[in-house]
Subunit: 446 residues, 2 copies
């Protein structure tokens, strides 16, 4: 069914812990790929009822559960299709009409290229009376790999290596990726045209830019071959770029190979990109849950970034202000944060971004009454641990000391999971089959 | 007069820059020591009108300007007094009745001890009909140094060295400081008793705990000699502690030297500790100014901590949420932050906490329309630069690139001041004579 019931650790006796975990559950339900696709298809049912032939394609970690929802609501009208999932991630398929193909992740191989060709075989001969539902989720960029004509997989890999060493922005990397691919940067939409496209996107990209998620196969690409050359020059890597890629760039500059489709291209009249779930949707559901329990709720950001241990200090600073100044909210209240922090490894412990934010926060809220903080990864897998995240409060520090554990020592060693295993507070959900990044919240009571 | 007019750089043409700088000015006025003491004395004038003999003492970087305000409002009733300022900081005094003494800062010397004895000579023979106004500000802990009986200045210095190497918390350090001092941890209040004390405190401590500011000479001390010993044992430094300090600790444990005065001590019936200015007061004035200009205003925290470059990312994450989701506020709006971030030096550039937060923020808000961010030190001196801070927006990144400057490179080298000198945006106030920590804010327009 694609929906996982949560498997909590021993925390659920305290009523605020209980509420906290209900809020976590709400966040996971709101980002559940199966439920999200079901809801979205029901919302657009009027607009798509005219299509009697529907083809479903997809790529990404959540595409199997998203495909299940498509068959659930559209089975009669689906003529076929195929999705690409990470190798080994779907043991046996319950899908009746949609084929399950595999690809390697995160490094694409010939397996991926074969799978992409198979997917394309379903959509290339369609008419404007047909609809392609395209399921996009995290990991899709690697799984949906098909180099442009004249480019080899080896060229792409070499290019990736050179780019990572040079350190361009993610926008610059995407610009190049799209121009050496046969399907990215809106080119899939072009191949499908004149059939219509409904892309259902589960976003694991902060900000949800459709041209960034899986390198935007059905979204217009405003970038050009000119910018590809600019990036090569800006980072002084022109001489290292593989010949095939350099040749293609020059052909592109001379107009001898086609540009990626631009925003004003007529093909996009037939394309609808819809985000079915993202960080903000999860935060909104969680905030509603908090409100229904009588807490004021504020969504502070869904763009959270920064080193986990430092982000924890800022979150604690907000908690202190609420406790001591009743600003920006008066308790009982809650503040929600979403996004993706970073952990720069210093030690060799076990843990992840969410547990490390929680560990840093508990140190900074030491002794503060009536404050809870929860942080968890929506995918259920935080770093190299088997937990999704952790729940902490102003008493956690003292409880740790009483067990002879020094929180700062565990933070120094990136060993948050080992810490919480001993002190309590781990949130364990198992892999949730979704990914809308990390979700966290403060609760402050009067 | 103690009040400094701001000396802006070339930014004031853009109307939002202009408003931003007016908000900065508001923050500086609200934390001005002279004005703050004047306002407070006028507020308590009824309560102190019964005292015909007032002695003014003080210590800290702002004590001269605070003393000027005392003479301004109480001159007729002041019989005398003395303040301790950093060596060389007051060239010529306009004070008529209050003596200006000097001490070294941050490392106390015999000069400080002589000055403290002189200050005490003004307050030790008073009666319960007299009032001592005690002016406390940043730097006061070092300036107001008088070791307890049997302890030498050398012992104190050695103890400080050992503590810094062992890495206890600031609370633990203060516990020890108070128990090896003759005046800290409420002991000054005890020496003044039965005369009454009105302590006017300019707080540079996040959270304003009166027992922390200048080690709380007129505030009760809940810590004990037992805890001193606990700290020595916890950090395994018992064998390194100077003999005189160990002896005093044991005498204290045996009740043979007096504990610091505890919260229920009757001497505190005669003591009033008032914070005349702090970070929150400055933020509140700034937020009011923003509101009067038509911006919604939210004070998010006055407890901001964390590595400057990471804090900048979190501030940018909040800006993005406002621009894209209109949450937690709808533009036009402003969000205020106060506290003290940290800079871990990696490079060898010129800059400070505030300029580095601003540099990190401008990188993360690159391209974002209608966002301004300002961060500045209320003391007017950010790090090793001659600026107080900087103002940035979504166009600063592009302006830097056009000048051939890569913002990330300057951030990497802790060279924020050099960056802003070339790109523009420095806020230069000169030393302001106050310190209520750092102040910063976002403005987002529709």
């Amino acid at each position: 069914m694609g929906y996982k019931v949560l498997n909590w650790s021993e925390l659920a006796t305290d009523p605020i812990n209980k509420l906290s975990l209900e809020i976590v559950k709400e966040g996971l339900e709101a980002s559940n790929p199966y439920l999200s696709v079901l809801q979205t298809l029901s919302k657009v049912s009027k607009q798509i009822e005219k299509y009697s032939n529907i083809v479903v394609i997809g790529f990404g970690k959540a595409s199997y559960n998203m495909a299940l929802a498509c068959e659930e609501s559209l089975i009669e009208r689906i003529s076929g299709g195929a999705i690409i999932v990470p190798h080994g991630s779907v043991k046996s398929s319950a899908l009746k009409k949609i084929e399950v193909l595999e690809g390697t992740h995160p490094v694409p191989t010939e397996l991926n290229v074969r799978s992409v060709r198979k997917v394309l075989s379903y959509v290339e001969q369609l008419s404007k009376k047909d609809l392609v539902v395209c399921l996009v989720s995290g990991g899709g960029s690697a799984l949906f790999t098909l180099p442009a004509e004249g480019i080899t997989l080896r060229d792409k890999q070499e290019m990736t290596r050179i780019l990572l060493a040079a350190g361009p922005t993610i926008q610059e990397i995407n610009c190049i990726r799209k121009h050496i691919s046969a399907v990215k940067g809106g080119q899939l939409a072009k191949l499908i045209y004149p059939a219509h496209v409904l892309s259902l996107i589960l976003s694991d990209v902060v900000g949800d830019d459709p041209s960034s998620i899986a390198s935007g196969p059905t979204a217009p690409d405003p970038t050009t071959f000119k910018e590809v050359l600019n990036v090569f020059e800006r980072y002084q890597i022109l001489e290292n770029v593989p010949n095939n890629i350099l040749n293609r760039t020059h052909l592109g500059l001379e107009g001898r190979v086609a540009e990626t489709p631009k925003p004003n291209d007529k093909i996009f009249e037939n394309v609808t990109n819809m985000v079915v779930a993202n960080n903000m949707k999860a935060l909104t559901s969680m905030a509603k849950k908090a409100e229904s329990a009588g807490l004021k709720a504020m969504i502070l950001t869904s763009y959270l970034e920064g080193e986990a241990r430092e982000v924890g200090k800022v979150i604690a600073a907000i908690a202190k202000q609420i406790v001591r100044e009743h600003l920006p909210l008066k308790p009982p209240c809650s503040v929600f944060f979403g996004g993706e922090t970073t952990v720069t490894l210093r030690g060799k412990g076990r843990g992840g971004r969410n547990q490390e934010v929680a560990l840093s926060t508990l140190i900074a809220i030491k002794g503060l009454q009536n404050v809870k903080f929860v942080s968890f990864g929506s995918d259920g897998v935080d770093g190299n641990s088997d937990a999704a995240g952790a729940i902490v409060d102003g008493t956690t520090f003292q409880r740790a000391l009483e067990k002879g554990l020094y929180p700062n020592k565990y933070l120094e060693d990136n060993d948050s999971n080992t810490f919480f295993k001993q002190v309590g507070g781990l949130i364990i959900t198992g892999p949730t089959g979704t990914n809308v990044n990390d979700l966290s919240f403060l609760i402050v009571l009067p």
